[in-house]
Subunit: 254 residues, 2 copies
């Protein structure tokens, strides 16, 4: 599985901010940053022999469970930036993958923590990560590299009136036939007005993916300011009331 022993533990990917990936403020959107992090994770895993294409041979696949991102600033259009990613830990049911985002000078401007599970595509059941390929996934662990942000929080929303309702449409759907991971982020960030974004800066964003959303689903978005500057959000499916995801947005005033 790990033929190339010259591959470093930490993957490093150099990117540029495309003009259509910025918001009204001219900075990279969190949704697009999410895309870049997931792409970096995909490249890192593929280059090290545990990416989707290798897993698919055994009918297994990675499932993203949680993301927490903090940043001091986001790069502007046409600016270069770097995404570094590494595996922090491998447990039976989950693996932790961390990220550092660096600006064009190489200074860290953000960090992310992600949690992934592996499932069998036929049974949809979890796969024990410590057993796959004779436990060699653990060889990629970098236990001592710092990721100075808190792990994902416990999110609990108790409001009963949705702040908005959206229908899952063609453009939301990815190659797996589910709503694209980053479209959840966009729908959540669309709960805040342009005026809110002019007056606040997001410093932390979290999302926990709980159920897949399909084309035609109606999604109710519940939003609650649980402490000053901290918003907790829950997306529930219409009809079944199944929780699709939970999210946390922490802002500071500008």
């Amino acid at each position: 599985m790990y033929q190339n022993t010259d591959v470093p533990l930490v993957g490093s990917y150099h990117l540029t901010v495309d003009p259509f990936d910025v918001d009204f403020s001219g900075r990279l959107t969190i949704g697009q940053l999410g895309n870049h992090l997931l792409n970096a994770a995909g490249f890192h895993a593929n280059e090290r022999g545990f990416g989707i294409s290798r897993l698919n041979e055994d009918d297994n696949t990675w499932v993203l469970s949680r993301v927490a991102i903090e940043f001091t600033e986001l790069p502007r259009e046409y600016q270069h930036f770097t995404v570094e990613t590494w595996v922090e830990a491998v447990m039976r049911m989950f693996t932790c993958r961390n990220f550092c985002i660096k600006d064009q000078m190489g200074n860290p401007i953000g960090y992310a923590r992600t949690i992934w599970a592996m499932i069998n595509r036929q049974s949809r059941k979890p796969v024990d990560l410590t057993t796959i390929d004779d436990g060699r996934l653990a060889e990629w662990v970098v236990p001592d590299r710092e990721c100075p942000i808190a792990p994902p929080s416990k999110i609990k929303v108790s409001v009963s009136e949705p702040a908005d309702t959206v229908r899952v449409k063609y453009s939301d759907i990815d190659i797996n036939g589910h709503m694209n991971s980053c479209r959840y982020i966009e729908h959540i960030l669309d709960l805040f007005s342009l005026r809110f974004y002019r007056e606040h800066r997001i410093k932390r964003f979290e999302i926990a993916y709980m159920a897949e959303c399909l084309h035609g689903d109606f999604l109710h978005l519940y939003k609650e300011e649980t402490s000053p500057g901290t918003y907790e959000i829950e997306i529930r499916k219409d009809g079944t009331n199944e929780i699709a995801c939970r999210s946390l947005v922490e802002v500071q005033s500008l």
Copy 2:
């Protein structure tokens, strides 16, 4: 203005399909293709001294008026492709910029025609393109390069019931404070179901931009099948009934 005489008339840009830029079928979305075409146009103009950054010095800017795209297939995730672009003509009020999209073997898989105006950012009035920089924009014209697709059509929608209504949200807004050109495309393509896309292939897509949409605008989307396999779409703003854009989608059965 045109310092570098070694710059070729036709610009050529090599791109890769990112995994989050594909739809359920695994192929590049038309919205993302639109982004890539507009980016290529921006690079081509900047490299030749008539891009946004140069124009902004005189407080002028480019405004995209119309787009027509035809393709036989779209590239799949991780595939490389090339966008070639050149100026076909410069008139007083408009300039025509064409595109050829080539697959990773260098074979043409699509073409696009776009029409642009230039306006002054203060007066919002059009600028005579034949007079700027002593008429030297015309030096970039490539009159003899073929672009074998029809020019943009006259679009007329006469249905009175909207097929859908959307509100312009934070994620729709670009750095200019207006709805992103490619979000119009997404909202239009979201008028068709996933089932429709499984049974049809889009072979031609057109859009004419008529008025800018702002955050909070409610947009009514009208759709009419004007001949078998040809859909004409109009987006009108709620309240004023102002036409924001018109579009045409031509499909063939799979």
